[in-house]
């Protein structure tokens, strides 16, 4: 595939960016892991992508054959490659909710830090809830895009097993929500807009979390985010799991990537409770209406951000560009409002969510 060349290029572009950032010192004390730097050609194919593997194998065979025999196979190759992209297009435009979850949870899907480091010109990560903890599952800091300073924060999943353990698979603890609130209050004080990135299976369920008030930490954020006087734009970049997602999800705009999902309860749990059968998760995923188009229809979501065919991980730089443009244009619109208008609109946005009868 002609893709292999551009993948190499992509990796090099990433390295250049990382190098530039490292030189600026912005990333000095952090392990930087970008999704595309060391990936094989088609890593982590999902179950429903398997038909593509076959085609890819045939393409490879023909390429090899051509090298050995110097036969001109260009027409055949072109045909197969067209077929390949058609098939991929077909697969990805008809994803079931359960399949979207797989894309949203893809191990190579760009994470909060990937996006932050790609879209910002400067970035300093800040730590701690000032109450005794620093949660690595919910990270944040101050960034600059162009001449705009802002606070960015979001759930952070790990990039490998060890990292995932340290970050609790993106399941934040009370300390994470309190750190997020501290950073948002900081943004409020210095008139910086807030960009939050949602990517969590849910808040961490554990003894420690209960002891430290997981419910209280989330609840407090829900209320206080209504009081902030700066623009808040929330984006579901991967999976939005329940209250753990909403805990940084109250804003003036809610955006979602095309294949992201946002759920009231994980389909697995929902199936176990309502169907009494955890195996019915894909049915639950369907019934719960968790995809971006569904949530747009329900009046919950403001904007769907398109992903490259094959998902965000197949072209993270382009995806990051989409995100950056959407953040900036929404921010521009929100900047036109007075503080009072901003807060009133935020309130009305949530006030109007809900479907009921009234006689």
């Amino acid at each position: 595939m002609s893709n292999s060349g551009s993948l190499g290029l992509l990796a090099r572009r990433y390295q250049t960016i990382v190098f530039a950032l490292l030189q600026r010192g912005a990333l000095r004390d952090r392990k930087v892991i970008f999704p595309m730097t060391s990936s094989p050609r088609r890593p982590f194919l999902l179950e429903f992508e398997k038909p593509l593997v076959e085609l890819q194998t045939r393409i490879n065979q023909i390429e090899e054959l051509a090298e050995e025999s110097e036969v001109d196979v260009t027409p055949q190759l072109e045909q197969l490659e067209t077929r390949y992209s058609q098939l991929r297009q077909e697969i990805f435009t008809n994803l079931s909710p359960a399949q979207r979850i797989q894309v949203a949870r893809h191990p190579k899907r760009p994470s909060t830090l990937d996006y932050i480091q790609t879209i910002s010109d400067e970035w300093i990560e800040l730590h701690g809830d000032r109450g005794g903890s620093d949660d690595l599952a919910l990270i944040g800091g101050i960034a600059r895009i162009g001449d705009q300073s802002c606070v960015m924060l979001g759930h952070q999943k790990g990039r490998d097993t060890k990292d995932n353990v340290a970050r609790n698979f993106g399941m934040a603890s009370p300390g994470g929500y309190r750190k997020a609130m501290r950073l948002m209050e900081h943004a409020n004080r210095f008139n910086m807009p807030i960009f939050t990135f949602i990517d969590t299976p849910g808040a961490y369920p554990g003894v420690k979390g209960e002891e430290l008030g997981q419910g209280e930490a989330i609840a407090y954020n829900l209320r206080e985010m209504f009081s902030l006087e700066v623009p808040i734009i929330c984006t579901v970049i991967g999976e939005g799991g329940s209250g753990g997602a909403l805990g940084i999800g109250v804003g003036d705009r809610l955006m979602m990537f095309e294949h992201s999902v946002y759920t009231v309860a994980s389909p697995e749990a929902c199936a176990a409770i309502l169907w009494k059968d955890a195996g019915k998760a894909s049915q639950a995923a369907e019934a719960l209406k968790i995809t971006a188009p569904d949530l747009k229809r329900l009046g919950i979501l403001d904007q769907i951000l398109p992903e490259p065919t094959g998902g965000a991980h197949t072209d993270p730089l382009a995806t990051a560009e989409t995100l950056k443009n959407a953040l900036l244009s929404n921010l521009e619109a929100l900047r036109q409002l007075t503080t009072q208008e901003l807060r009133d609109q935020r309130y009305q946005k949530f006030r109007s969510i809900g479907v009921f009868l009234e006689s």
Partner: protein, 343 residues
């Protein structure tokens, strides 16, 4: 959060003794305590607000009894009963949500899992929401969100304190993300209420869990709980599965939350009304304390203005209103009918 299942933590309900085994409880004349197993004459139990006379266990009560226990007779004015649930997702699991709603409504006589209204507590006008566990485990969907939000907005406009008796298994999954968003909606209304320096106190009853715990149950200026109520964010079973270890018996009880600083006080049901009334009175500081410097920006009406407002709404009989609001408390005539809490 909705992973919660309260069944896992249901009290160790096995009767320890069978005191009056020959009595039949099916006619409702006798009620068996689900903690100690003792049979009590239902009339006596009711007179004690369904608190076991033997072991002090708080038997589960529902919204009608709760309202009766808290609100002065004849002052309850229900609000928004005509806001009713529908089926926005056309949800179907093993049954059809729409049918399930209908069946639950006719079984319980309720339209959804919260009732809201205005009324008096020992003569103090308040806004009260009461969740009802009978209705789909007190789960929170669009109607709970809408009724509570309207209640809070009304209370903010009329400068009334808000109490919400919580009892819930969490968000109602059958309404999907609409349910989750109700957490934010209610919290937003509470933010506005708070910005006006008005009082909000949730009363946590067994069980308060999931999305309710992660929103309005934990947002009180003060938080009150009934003894031994289970209060949790994540369900006990989920945590046990995650950790693969046995949890302590008192885990997620009201007492446990007090120990860890998340509940202000445990109040027995028999003292609840008195305590809530006391809180309302304590938060009406005399003007001499110097609270004119309120920064909320909104004018804080004095007692007379409140009185006028009540008249305008006409929900309290004029005679009782005169007695309760204007004249009864010497020294408080100039009091601001508002709350004064540090922000």
């Amino acid at each position: 959060m909705s992973l919660f299942d309260w069944f896992a933590n249901r009290r160790k309900a096995e009767p320890t003794q069978q005191v009056q085994p020959e009595r039949d409880i099916s006619d409702g004349l006798w009620t068996k305590c689900d903690s100690c197993g003792v049979l009590t004459y239902t009339k006596d139990l009711r007179a004690n607000q369904m608190v076991c006379l033997e072991c002090n266990h708080h038997l589960r009560i529902f919204s009608d009894q709760r309202i009766e226990q808290l609100i002065d007779a004849g002052t309850w004015q229900p609000l928004n009963d005509d806001v009713r649930p529908t089926d926005p997702l056309e949800f179907r699991d093993r049954r059809v949500y729409k049918d399930y709603l209908k069946a639950t409504q006719s079984k319980t006589g309720l339209t959804d899992s919260v009732r809201t209204g205005l009324g008096n507590i020992e003569g103090e006008p308040v806004a009260l929401g009461v969740m009802d566990f009978r209705f789909m485990g007190g789960s929170m969907g669009s109607v709970v969100g809408e009724r509570l939000t309207r209640l809070i907005e009304r209370a903010t406009a009329e400068r009334l304190p808000v109490f919400i008796a919580c009892a819930s298994g969490g968000a109602r999954m059958q309404e999907g993300m609409l349910s989750l968003m109700q957490m934010a909606k209610i919290s937003g209304a509470l933010e506005r209420h708070r910005a006006q320096r008005l009082l909000y106190v949730p009363v946590l009853t067994h069980p308060t869990t999931g999305g309710v715990t992660a929103s309005f149950a934990m947002l009180g200026d003060l938080i009150i709980a009934e003894p031994n109520a289970m209060i949790a964010f994540a369900g006990r079973r989920v945590i046990e599965q995650t950790l693969r270890e046995k949890l302590p018996d008192d885990f997620q009880t009201a007492e446990y939350l007090v120990q860890h600083g998340f509940v202000d006080a445990i109040v027995p049901r028999t003292q609840m009304k008195k305590t809530l009334a006391q809180l309302v009175r304590l938060h009406r500081l005399p003007a001499s304390v110097g609270n004119q410097g309120a920064t909320s920006g909104a004018p804080i009406p004095n007692g007379a203005a409140i009185n006028g407002m009540l008249n305008g709404n006409g929900f309290v009989p004029e005679s009782s209103q005169h007695h309760e609001v204007s004249g009864a408390r010497p020294g408080l005539e100039d009091a601001e009918i508002s709350t004064q809490l540090p922000r």
